[in-house]
Structures are given as structure tokens and as C-alpha cells.
């Protein structure tokens, strides 16, 4: 006996019923706030008084700020510096680590966990620890520098030096994010069929050739994924800046999200901050599109 078919429309209705709690949450906490922020980005709004429509004035002010090389311009420049500092280095190190771990090291689980630990640690806690490492008078880094140079190198001020502060934040962030990228690369590596390597070895390919001809091309989708995620992550850098330097010294580390936070919560300029947020959204959207386009070209599959 066959089960009587449920009418398709009813089935859809039931499906939506089950989806509705999730959708409601998504609507209330994501969709509505996003559209509210879009509306606010055209207003003056200080939380206390009701919003006043300004047209595109907030966006014009942002443009003017960039033209005058104001603080928003600096935050764009610093965010770009952060991205250029963290992404290539972070990905290269992650790939190198993943290759090492994939070589069948003993105790691989322990290494994998160790490298992944910073990822699951809270950014604020990690930032506090690194502030100790960077401390000019009793920090670990200056201690090591003095030891290694035999006392010839003067202690550096790191986070208090406009020329070094961003590099210090970059180094810490690369360390923090390494485990995440590594685990994704490791998964990608384990998805490459072993028989390809066997065949290549029989044909006399060197380890270097095997990497460039097999591993690297087949890892392209993984690389593309990590790249997109890293670009988005770098564009949104905030917590370590807020904790370690609060944008200083001499505005050398203020970033886009740091500016959004300051304008929204210190100056109660929710409209201006929302406009910044949408500029950031447009930038991330554009960058992700470009990254995807670039990495999709030349993707291969060996069946």
C-alpha cells in the first residue's frame, strides 16, 4: 500500500513552519538591524533623540575626510596595512605548518591542538598577554632581543612607537589566526587522493614538482576560501586594536571598525558610524568579488 502523497503546497507550509523560529531570529537580529542601519546612515541619530534625515551628508563627510586625509582616511590606510601584513604571511605559515603536520608526524593530534589553541582563546585575553610580551621595560620580546644582541640593541617601545605599533599588532594577529588557516589547509590536503602522488613518484617527480603540480593546484579552492575569509576578517579588525593601543600612537593603528565604534559609542554619532559601516560593507563586497574572480581562474581538477 502506498502512502498517500501529501500535497506539495502543504509540505512547503510545514517546512516553513519548522524554519520559522530560525527565520524569525535571523529577521529580528540581522535583517531588520541591517536595514535600520542603512536608514540611519542617512540620518543624524544620537540614540536619545529621534533620527533626523540628512540625505547623503554623512557619506559626503566621509568623502571629504578621505580627501583631506583625515582620521577616516588613516583608518582605511591602517586597515589596508593590516591586511597586507597579516594575509600573505598568515597563509604561507599556515600552509607550511599544514604540510609538516600532513607528513605523518608522530603526535600530530597534539601539534594540531597546540596550534589551534590561540584560535579558541578570547582575543581580549590574547591581546593582554601580548601587551606583556611587548612591554618596553619588562616584556619578553625586549628581554630576548637584549639577550640575542648581547645588549647592543636598545629596548624598543613597540606599541608606543608609531612606526612599530601596527607591525606589533600584525605579528600577534598572525599568531592568533594561524591555527584556523592551518586546520582548513590540513583538511584540503587530506582531500587530495594519495594515488596522484604515487603516480608522480613513479614518473620520477621531485618533492618540489609534486607540490607545484599536484598539491598547490588542488588546494586552490581551499586557498580561495581562506583568502576570502581572511580578507573579510582583516577588514573587520577591531578587538586587538581596542585593547592594545586604542588607535594610537599618533593614530597609527586606528582601523575602520575602531572608528565605527568610537563614533557610535563615544560620540553617539550613530548615523555617521552607520555610513562608515556601509562603506566598509561595500569594500568587503568588492574585495571578496575580486578575490573570488582571481582564484576561480585556473582552478583544476584531476579525475
Amino acid at each position: 500500500m502506498s502512502v498517500p502523497a501529501v500535497p506539495a503546497r502543504r509540505e512547503t507550509r510545514v517546512a516553513y513552519l519548522f524554519l520559522s523560529p530560525g527565520l524569525a531570529l535571523f529577521l529580528v537580529f540581522t535583517v531588520i538591524p541591517v536595514f535600520a542601519a542603512l536608514y540611519l546612515s542617512f540620518c543624524r541619530y544620537d540614540v536619545i533623540h529621534s533620527p533626523v534625515w540628512l540625505g547623503a551628508k554623512n557619506y559626503a563627510r566621509l568623502w571629504q575626510d578621505v580627501a583631506n586625509r583625515g582620521v577616516f582616511y588613516l583608518s582605511l590606510r591602517n586597515t589596508l596595512q593590516y591586511a597586507i601584513g597579516t594575509i600573505p604571511l598568515g597563509m604561507a605559515l599556515a600552509l607550511a605548518l599544514a604540510l609538516l603536520l600532513n607528513a605523518g608526524l608522530r603526535g600530530m593530534g597534539i601539534y594540531r591542538t597546540t596550534y589551534y589553541l590561540p584560535v579558541v582563546t578570547s582575543m581580549v585575553a590574547v591581546a593582554m598577554v601580548w601587551m606583556w610580551i611587548y612591554d618596553p621595560s619588562y616584556g619578553l620580546l625586549n628581554y630576548l632581543l637584549a639577550k640575542l644582541s648581547g645588549g647592543r640593541l636598545a629596548p624598543q617601545t613597540w606599541l608606543a612607537n608609531p612606526g612599530q605599533a601596527m607591525a606589533a599588532i600584525v605579528a600577534m594577529s598572525v599568531w592568533k589566526g594561524l591555527g584556523y588557516n592551518m586546520v582548513i589547509y590540513l583538511a584540503g590536503l587530506q582531500g587530495i587522493p594519495e594515488h596522484l602522488y604515487e603516480a608522480a613518484t613513479i614518473d620520477g617527480a621531485s618533492a618540489w614538482q609534486r607540490f607545484w603540480r599536484i598539491t598547490w593546484p588542488l588546494l586552490k579552492p581551499t586557498t580561495a576560501f581562506i583568502l576570502v575569509v581572511s580578507v573579510i576578517g582583516a577588514s573587520q579588525v577591531f578587538a586587538q586594536v581596542y585593547v592594545m593601543t586604542n588607535g594610537g600612537p599618533n593614530d597609527a593603528t586606528t582601523t575602520i571598525v575602531h572608528q565605527i565604534f568610537q563614533n557610535a559609542f563615544s560620540y553617539l554619532k550613530m548615523g555617521y558610524a552607520s555610513a562608515m559601516a556601509f562603506v566598509l560593507f561595500a569594500l568587503i563586497f568588492l574585495l571578496s568579488l575580486i578575490t573570488l574572480r582571481l582564484t576561480r581562474a585556473g582552478q583544476v581538477e584531476y579525475s
Binding site: 544620537d46 536619545i48 612591554d135 621595560s137 594610537g248 600612537p249 599618533n250 593614530d251 553617539l268
Partner: protein, 418 residues
């Protein structure tokens, strides 16, 4: 049935709870300046005594961190549940008054009749456009702390009196080894607070009296910033990154890494805590003058919410906390200067510390509070960027101040356009 037996005790509990609670008047009090001694004082002595004198009244103190204060205040006000009384700092009156987040108290103050006992610089912290929005609770004047022994060695029998003497004495007391500063002639943070002091000493101001136009492009302002930047770059009395300290937690002056600094009474507290032997060698004086003398005073104060349902009772609690003994006890827990003259002169902890009394005297003579303006927090950040650019030499002082002055004019115009 089983479910009912489970629910029964709960229902009883709820009913008994309702039955027991008499109609009560509650006051919400937010305190931002506190340590363990302060919370003990308020929770165990001051507030219970107030409650005992007002049967049926319950005061709920909440101890709030400065980091969360702005957000909590804005959100509670927008939600109509602002605390009846809240403590804020030296930079708040403009923003609170402009947004209607604090009650003007002039009529109550006139009836109270004790305004004359407060130091003018402390009092002006709570005043915006002629109206008073609270009562001063704690004061911290910033004066010159100096090492008498080192200054004598540098050939000075008195603390530096002018900018020229300040630069000269600081330069002479600085000890350098190559590019590394071993000992700073003056501990000098890169901060808008320091700039404002030089600006005032030179007769300048940030904006005009009406708060509509920048005055940072004036020659007085440029000269003040030039001098400030020169202390780092020409006289090299302190590295821009600050001096290394003992263990990172002991402040520079108490770490004996600097000969002078501008600081409030907490500087003295740190010396007596970390280097008590140094205390007799530390002198206190008015900061050096240019055209005039200025002691910048940072005062924390108590504001009343316009949303309070019990404004009379809230006012009573505030004036109770301002009573001489209560004010003295509160200030003693935090080592601040009581903003009332009678209290500063008679409180035990003030009498035991001759140096603290000097702070009070200098505050009375030369004290000045920050200008009150709604956009203060934004101005402060912009000012910090401008002075950093000059000190780190990415711009000249003149260029840095001219650029920021233009921005400030635009910012101030936004309010006046509304």
C-alpha cells in the same frame, strides 16, 4: 496531580513574597569612583544610615566601571530608566545638559545655601551655560611634583617658575646614554591634558566663550604646542613613548625615573606606597607660568536624573552625601581632595598629609575646570590627534592646529545649525 504538587510550593513562595513586601520607595544610585573601602563605606555605613532616617526607603547602589558608563547612561536614558542619581566625571556636563540627561538644580541649590563652601574650580565642572547640573563630589588638581634634591643639584633653589626655567631644569636633570633616556628630567605623557595646561598658562583657549568657534589657530595655542613638542624633540627631557618603570606597574615618578611631573594627589599616594623614603624629597608647586598660572582640576560629581520619580528624595540623598563628615569619609577612601573648603581644611586625612593641603591651596588659587561643551569627547580625540602629529613631527605645530581648527569649526557649526 503530580505537576500541581510541584507547583504548589512555588505558588506559595510567590504569594508569600508578595505578601511580605511592603510598598517601598527605591532610589537607584550609580557610583563610578570606588574601591573596596568606598563600597564598604557606602553599603555598610552611609546608605544604611540614610535608610534608617527615611523609613521605607531603599537605596540601591550600583558600582559602574568608567568604560561602560557612557553606553549605560545613554541606553538607560533612552529606555526611560535612568538611575535617580549618578556619578560622572570632569568632562560630562556639556553632553548631559545638552541632551537633557541631567536636571538643572539651581533652585534647589539656592535653597540649600551651601554653594559658597565649594572650590570654584570644582563647582564650575557642573555648570553649563549658567545652569548647575550637579554637586562636586571628588576633586583632583594637577600640580607640579618635583624632586627637591635633584633640582638643588641642577642649581635651582626653588621649583621652576617659568617655561624657560622648566625646560632648562628638565634638560639639566635628564640623564641620557646615547639615544636612550636613563632618567627623565620631566615625566611627560603625550596627552591633550598636558597640552591644555600649557595652553591655559599661555592665555589661550580651545574655543571661544560661546562654544561656536575654535581658538586653536591662535598664536597662543601654536606657541603652547611648540613648547610642548620642543620638550620632547629639542630639549629631549622625556621619550615620547614614556619612561620604563619598575615592574611595569609602579608609576614613573614613584619608580624614581623622573625628576618632575604634572600630576594630581595620586602621584603623592604612589610615592608613599612604593617609595616612602622619597616622600620628604618631593616638593609640590604650582605649574610654571607663561602669561598666567593654571592648575587644571578634574572633579567628579553627582547628577540627578530628570527621569527620577522621586527628585526630592534623590536631592536629599545627594545633600546627605555632601555633608562634611560623609564627604570627608568618601574622599578619604579614594585619596581625593574634598571639593568643599571646610572639609578639605578639617578632614583628618587631609590634616595628616601636609602635601595634600598644598594641593587644596593651589586648587583654590589657580584652579580651572575643563570647558563645558556637548561635543567634548569628540574634541578631546581630535585634539589628541593634532598634538600627536606635532610631537611625532608629522606636522608642524602650526599646521597641526590649523588643520584641526578647521575641523573643529565644522563640528561646532553642526550644533549651531540645528
Amino acid at each position: 496531580m503530580k505537576r500541581l504538587t510541584l507547583l504548589l510550593p512555588l505558588i506559595c513562595l510567590l504569594l508569600s513574597g508578595c505578601g511580605r513586601s511592603k510598598p517601598r520607595i527605591e532610589l537607584e544610585l550609580w557610583i563610578t569612583d570606588f574601591n573596596q573601602d568606598t563600597t564598604d563605606l557606602l553599603n555598610k555605613q552611609l546608605l544604611p544610615r540614610f535608610e534608617a532616617a527615611h523609613p521605607g526607603v531603599k537605596v540601591n547602589p550600583q558600582y559602574i566601571s568608567w568604560a561602560n558608563l557612557d553606553q549605560k547612561l545613554a541606553i538607560s536614558f533612552a529606555g526611560g530608566v535612568q538611575p535617580d542619581i549618578f556619578q560622572v566625571g570632569a568632562e560630562y556636563v556639556g553632553g548631559l545638559a545638552y541632551r537633557g540627561m541631567a536636571q538643572p538644580l539651581d533652585d534647589r541649590i539656592a535653597r540649600w545655601g551651601q554653594k559658597g563652601d565649594f572650590y570654584p574650580a570644582s563647582w564650575s565642572t557642573c555648570v553649563y551655560q549658567g545652569k548647575t547640573y550637579g554637586l562636586p563630589y571628588l576633586s583632583a588638581p594637577r600640580v607640579l611634583l618635583y624632586r627637591k634634591d635633584l633640582l638643588r643639584k641642577a642649581g635651582y633653589s626653588h621649583p621652576p617658575d617659568t617655561w624657560e626655567q622648566l625646560a632648562d631644569a628638565a634638560e639639566k636633570m635628564t640623564v641620557r646614554d646615547g639615544t636612550v633616556t636613563k632618567f627623565a628630567g620631566m615625566n611627560l605623557p603625550v596627552s591633550w591634558q598636558v597640552f591644555i595646561e600649557f595652553l591655559w598658562e599661555n592665555g589661550g583657549q580651545i574655543f571661544d566663550e560661546s562654544g561656536t568657534h575654535s581658538r586653536l589657530d591662535s598664536p597662543e595655542a601654536v606657541e603652547a604646542l611648540q613648547f610642548y613638542a620642543d620638550l620632547y624633540n629639542k630639549y629631549q627631557v622625556c621619550p615620547t613613548a614614556g619612561m620604563p618603570t619598575i615592574g611595569g606597574s609602579i608609576p614613573v615618578f614613584a619608580s624614581q625615573k623622573a625628576a618632575m611631573e604634572i600630576n594630581n594627589q595620586v602621584g603623592i599616594k604612589n610615592v608613599s606606597k612604593y617609595a616612602p623614603g622619597l616622600l620628604p624629597k618631593v616638593g609640590i608647586a604650582a605649574p610654571p607660568r607663561r602669561k598666567q598660572r593654571a592648575v587644571s582640576v578634574y572633579t567628579d560629581w553627582l547628577a540627578l536624573s530628570p527621569q527620577s520619580k522621586r527628585p526630592d528624595l534623590a536631592w536629599e540623598l545627594v545633600t546627605y552625601l555632601m555633608e562634611p563628615d560623609n564627604l570627608a569619609a568618601y574622599n578619604a577612601t579614594l585619596f581625593f581632595i574634598p571639593p568643599r573648603r571646610s572639609v578639605a581644611q578639617t578632614a583628618t586625612f587631609m590634616r595628616e598629609n601636609p602635601q595634600l593641603r598644598d594641593f587644596a591651596v593651589l586648587m583654590d588659587q589657580y584652579g580651572r575646570s575643563l570647558p563645558a561643551i556637548p561635543e567634548w569627547f569628540e574634541i578631546r580625540t581630535g585634539l589628541q590627534s593634532a598634538i600627536s602629529a606635532a610631537i611625532y613631527q608629522t606636522k608642524t605645530p602650526e599646521q597641526a592646529l590649523r588643520d584641526y581648527s578647521r575641523e573643529l569649526d565644522e563640528l561646532l557649526a553642526e550644533r549651531t545649525k540645528r
